[in-house]
Symmetry: D2
Subunit: 353 residues, 4 copies
């Protein structure tokens, strides 16, 4: 039987390149199309010399098909396009009965109003918001299995939601006191020819940006609210750090009123139980507990999220730290993890631990 | 009239090297001694080839004098030694009527008990804690003028205290809700031959450490408490980032009860007034206001602290971000700024804006 | 049938860690022992948190066996030990009929005299020098198949020999005019707690070192001499560059007397023919020709060497540039490539293109 | 008496920014104009927040004057413009009797033909090539004193010419065997919004480029030819390295026929004599001899060139290594050094050792 046919639309940015990097090695699929306006007519090897030793990189050329043509090219279409543009491609593919895994922000929210608030324009296909599944496999595995449209989460949200959702669902933390500081490598800014992201502007530099209302905050708060069953407003401060890849997120949390007289030991034990319940079979989640703290260099190149925490005995606050590779677990890898679940492949196929 | 004679004790670490770097160019002083057990007998040029074009670097050799000999060598003695060791050198110099500017933590606290709590051993010279002046010139300029013992602040504390103290003194913020995330370049860890600070362990890595009770927290809280006139317990999470120099500190603050119904505009205006009052003549303080955010690359190599902020209209919290060079404003530069004030030199002599 | 049992001796340095990284994912083998004096008693996961998601990393502990015990633990023993020490471990394993793949310099030379000249001590097991095979698979594939002792090449030599040997064998270049400049990432210096390799000493630094007689020159010259069938003395200048991984080698070559009146086009065509003859089926060799130049970022993480060249029409010299990952094709990956050939696995098993 | 008035034309690139950085601290001059098409109307502080603590940065706005207006604005005009454009600005300033220090390549060559060969277009003002002085102060100090048009050298040429010219003039080396490998930090590529110079494309990357005929080769060869009194063709291979600043140049040289039977000791002694003769009073030249090798981190931020060498006893070749800061000694600093000489300021005024 033939392999699953996969198209990568918008394969000229860092997320698209990472999709190529991972899918070109994936045993269950065949890349049948890569698209890019800019690179149309060039082979993968010409655009990305690092893949030139794969035969397909020398044979497969970038094309620039119409959205309506995509469904003929593949069974599964990955969209690595800017928000606002992705919807235009998703609609005809889904209408033709094929599946879409969208890495943009277009289908991550349930609310078209919040989309408009954060993205500054009307949602281009609001009717799809109900059917889209938020592609965080450790939380929505069952929904992913049967979805036709996956909205793969943003990088910051992934690093924040996986350690926080179990604590909210188990009412261990106060949903009104979530203070997040995230550090991102420069690939998070995309492959854009802008002065701000030149080597000499980023190297030996550290800066905060996007305060107080970074776009990712919309999906962070929506997902936290689902978990808390109450509306969550979070404080989120992203920073740009001179590494290629990686997100390190430090979250300052306050125990819920139920636990306010609990000792740090009790709080810790509740956290461990919650994580054991949620993630004991989640192969890409590495729970470090309260003895160790993550380092992005432990996860770069892998689809793993690792997180650990400390409970401050003086303030009772929980300091929770997580690390992911923004282009793998935070983008292409997680999208492929969803595909693996959809298609019945091994969940780790094509992905590194 | 002769120049002021200066000794640098412990000139083998990064702070000591930066003191050499700045003092070798300073017009008002003469370096009469550099000391180091490890480098004794070598010239400055042999230890630090980058200074070899200064004649004194070829003539002046490192020595390893007894603490009691130091007072004969210089009018002002800079101590760039580990905590616990500095006190031993400071006492005889002060007893001999000379001045000490100590870059260690030994004299930063007023309380020997808190010293013991955070540093794990009895204070070696508790009688000096009362006379020592905390060398933050923008806050303690008058005391510095006449001090004989300056305890130059730590790098993290400098980045935290300068933007926060005016807000506490003016009761703009709630002293019980101070949540600090700091990012430090690797020189902050000192010049120690340890695996953790090797290039390959730090490059392409981001990690939190020292949670929840980093030693600097003791002086941070003590100074914040003085400003707030109430005991402050702060949340402080430092991180190690792959840059040579620089600290970026992001502080999440809650307006005081007085201002809880105030609009962001009013809060902002109170902040601007407070900073204008405290820092309008502080040449090394660059207040960016709520329009811009700092970048460590704007301050590296200078004695400047820059800070800016945003007020989140959804949470009313203030996100305040500051940047310094940890080795200059956070160590050697600030120590020299204190010396300039003590000696009546121009405050900017030998220091960069 | 059981998997091949593999031991990694000296798994505490960067080469040893990379062997763990690659072998833990290799489908044909089972790691039965990892050894290190320093880490004895700890699990792989404790020493290398990044591997903690592999079950074996939590179960397998580092040990510190006697050399004579190794043969009982594995079918193939990888030695990632300092030169001079490796021989001591290799001898009893080989005597017991098991196979050794040595990543040190101990068995790379045929001449014990040259070993002594470059390494400063007598060769510890000169009788093995005759049977050892230099583990450059693209050159010695047949010998590797049946070898019991593989001397895996150094990182610099790999980057130099693969592009140069075909040109010498085909008499395209003058063997007396080989001028090599290599740039190495800091992992090439090993995981040593030395001031020189601290982040702040390497970052924002570029330096040459080891001039004029770096130890790797011995194996470079010996292999070049075999290819040229005459004694080759090469000029080799290594440099340390602030990247984690990668070697970029630039070789300045003069066409042989036969070709001294040839046009650049003819020289180029001879080069292409030579490489086609030697490497058309060498899956890890990527010949870029005279149109493109390599970049270490295209090969880092892979077992690929890529090289390209330009012929200067004004000087007739060939400027040949190659790139490898020093820890993969330059160390652990190439060692595994040899193992794959020895054991009849797919040559690419466990290795990335 | 008033200060010398200085204009910086094209202050939006890295060289222009470094001119601002150095001139804003220079005691002998006053910046009266900064120009940039792109930034016209903005203050220096708005464009470069790092200079905001200097009062002039808040008062002086970028303008975009006509070339003919410049002479009214300043006594000395620094041009930090692309080649081909600089000439247009230089001509009217010189005709008006003011002085020009040009950092572009427009006036570095004596030959308009070679200019055309390397830069691909006719020279825009060939009549000025005769009066322009190549602004390498250690070689052309006397000519600089009275020049009205200084062509400040390129960064690579500075790193190559200073160590090589004395050896050619003294006939110590063979002018037909000069093989140069240079490593440059990314600021050498300018502040251009191009994908190739993004952080993620440069970090963890090493690459050669511009082979075999980089534009700087034209001035390198012209100056080497003057020194050798014969036409020199050199081999020059530049590389791009992930540091912000710095050039490290490694030159492989062959002793001249006169010295071919000389011992390394004799060759070394001839080199030391030559450098002593040329550079004993050159304050920015640091001759390390054959005992030490340079490191770019020793010179970054300073106007110093340092160089050292080794003589290979096996090949008799000299391996000479130099280091500069490409933006200081390789651009803005050297231009100011020329200005200091022209204006009778201390040669070190505004420049760091």
């Amino acid at each position: 039987m033939g392999k699953t046919k996969v198209a990568i639309v918008g394969a000229s940015g860092y997320s698209g390149e990472e999709l190529v990097n991972l899918l070109i090695r994936h045993k269950g699929i065949e890349i049948t199309a890569v698209t890019s306006r800019q690179f149309s007519g060039k082979t993968i090897a010409e655009v990305y010399p690092r893949f030139a030793s794969f035969p397909i990189a020398k044979s497969l050329k970038f094309t620039n098909p119409q959205p309506t043509e995509l469904a003929n090219l593949a069974d599964i279409v990955f969209l690595a396009l800017p928000h606002g543009v992705a919807a235009e491609y998703a609609v005809p593919v889904i209408n033709a009965g094929k599946k879409v895994i969208d890495l943009s922000a277009d289908f991550r929210l349930r609310s078209a109003d919040i989309y408009k608030e954060f993205y500054g324009h009307d949602h281009p296909a609001p009717e799809l918001l109900k059917t889209a599944v938020y592609g965080l496999p450790e939380i929505y595995r069952d929904e992913i299995k049967t979805a036709s449209l996956i909205a793969s989460p943003g990088c910051y949200p992934t690093s924040i939601l996986l350690p926080t959702i179990p604590l909210l669902r188990k009412r261990i933390i106060d949903p009104s006191q979530i203070i997040i500081n995230s550090l991102s490598g420069v690939s998070g800014a995309g492959r854009k020819a802008e002065i701000d992201y030149l080597f000499c502007e980023c190297n030996e530099s550290m800066r905060a940006y996007g305060i107080p209302k970074h776009r990712h905050l919309s999906e962070i708060e929506e997902q936290l609210s689902f978990a808390a069953q109450t509306r969550v407003i979070a404080q989120f401060t992203p920073h740009l750090i001179p590494v290629n890849r990686g997100i390190l997120t430090t979250i300052c949390l306050t125990p819920s009123t139920d636990l306010q007289n609990a000792t740090p030991e009790v709080i810790n034990s509740e956290m461990e139980k919650a994580y054991a319940e949620f993630y004991s079979s989640a192969i890409f989640v590495r729970v470090l507990g309260n003895k160790a703290l993550p380092d992005t260099k432990h996860v770069v190149g892998t689809n793993v999220i690792e997180f650990g925490w400390k409970i401050d005995p003086r303030t009772k606050r929980i300091i929770l730290v997580s690390a992911i590779d923004n282009l793998v677990k935070g983008a292409g890898g997680q999208a492929i993890q969803s595909m693996n679940i959809m298609c019945g492949f091994e969940e780790t196929e094509g992905l590194s631990l």
